[in-house]
Amino acid sequence: MAGTDPIHQFRITELFSFGSVGSEGDGTGGFHLVFTNSALFMVLTVVLIAGYLILSTRGRGLVPSRLQLVSEMAYEFVANMVRNSAGTEGMRFFPFVFTLFTFVLMANMFGMFPYFFAVTSHLIITAALALLVMAIVITYGIYRNGLGFLKLFVPSGIPGPVLLLVVPIEILSFLSRPVSLSLRLFGNILAGHIVLKVFAGFVVSLTGLGLIGTLGAILPLGMTIALTGLEFLVAALQAFVFTILTCVYINDAIHPGH
């Protein structure tokens, strides 16, 4: 049943196709470029963020308007986050971190609208973002520190024999970072949406059973309302967590010695 199927909301649907690139005549192989609901909401996310930030700051008011104030607050919020966890040198990654934060936050928030698609409920998206973060961390870490970047795995002040134990743990924890980073966001959004849909589905199913069912639907309805509030919190919190961890990892790239 499409109506109450909690998984249906994550389905990628093709909105229109740009045709195939380098494919065989029968449409197999090559790259078949389609514009999907996921792509639509990524585009909407970008349009909303960029449109808002650019239009609201158009006046460049010395005394900010209310709209401009929101942009400035977002700017200072992320700037403080980067500065506090990665120092002044980390500010060179500020545009990236800001893009990441606003993108994830808005994608999460878009997912909260009924019938809208939650871009971040797909592991491939969160994994791609997490791997991008790790790629930046590793590239910059090696570019800046050379082999000194490997000190990341060798905490200072630890006697030799213990290092034999600690270094593998450090390497393992480093390797698990992209996994935890991507799974955390993906899992939170996915699970939240499924739970929300299941409870909302109960409401619909129960009301279909007549008067008693309708009365019984009050409980899941209350849960749905409460969960909606919780999911808004989760949407904002997970965007924040994703970003703050990115800042922490960037800090590791700048200062590999603990």
């Binding site: 109506g3 999907t36 585009v43 010395l62 700017y75 491939i124 279909g208």
Partner: protein
């Protein structure tokens, strides 16, 4: 790339349609245990025997529908056929957002904040400068006030001493005038006195003449004078 299944699913499906044929058929397809084509007699929900061929027909239909749903058995986030498109659009949109942020939005907001910070600092410096100017003006004012007060004192002193000198002068003049007049008066008195004294002699002589002549006869005025003079000499 699963094109057909993607195309088959509407973006927004009806919220609840429990009798939707798709749903039922999928459910049957998933739960049905009888392999297609095998002749089995089963019972339907009401317990009536159902011809296996009929069931298989339904199942064929079910499988057909399930197939048009594509890999609907796979969980959508793990449907690798969608990865390419998702990654492509993520790269495009995220890249675009990064460019828009790093080139336009963030420098602009940063500039706004910096201009404001500069302005505030400038205003504070200006206020500080004005305050210093005020302090300086107050100091100058007080200095000039003290000076003026001192000058006023000096002028007052000078005037006072001038007036005093003037008065002294006048008093001296008046005193000199008075003492001169006193001297003159004394002189006059002395003169009058000596004149009077002289007259006293004459009067005394005349009186004596008159007395003597009344008492003893004639006496000359000259004798009388001589006599008075001798008496006075004694």
């Amino acid at each position: 790339m699963a094109r057909t299944p993607l195309a088959n699913t509407p973006l927004a499906s009806p919220l609840l349609d429990p009798l939707a044929p798709h749903g039922i058929l999928i459910a049957q397809a998933e739960t049905g245990t009888a392999p297609a084509g095998e002749h089995v007699v089963t019972v339907d929900a009401q317990g009536n025997p159902v011809e296996a061929t009929q069931l298989t027909n339904e199942m064929d239909q079910a499988i057909g529908v399930a197939e048009t749903h594509g890999e609907s058995g796979t969980f959508p986030p793990f449907d690798s056929s969608t990865y390419g498109a998702q990654l492509f659009w993520l790269a495009v949109t995220f890249g675009l957002l990064y460019i828009l942020m790093s080139r336009i939005a963030l420098p602009r907001i940063g500039e706004i904040l910096e201009v404001r910070r500069d302005r505030i600092e400038g205003d504070l410096a200006e206020a500080e400068r004005l305050k210093q100017m005020t302090d300086q003006a107050i100091a100058t004012y007080e200095e000039e006030l003290a000076e003026a007060r001192a000058k006023a004192h000096a002028i007052a002193d000078e005037t006072r001493s001038k007036i005093k000198a003037d008065m002294d002068e006048k008093r001296r003049k008046v005193e000199a005038d008075l003492s001169r007049q006193v001297a003159e008066a004394e002189e006059r008195i002395t003169a009058t006195k000596s004149e009077a004294l002289a007259n006293v002699d004459k009067i005394a002589a005349e009186t004596a003449v008159a007395l003597v002549s009344k008492l003893s006869g004639k006496v000359t005025l000259r004798d009388a004078k001589t006599a008075v003079r001798s008496v006075l000499k004694e």
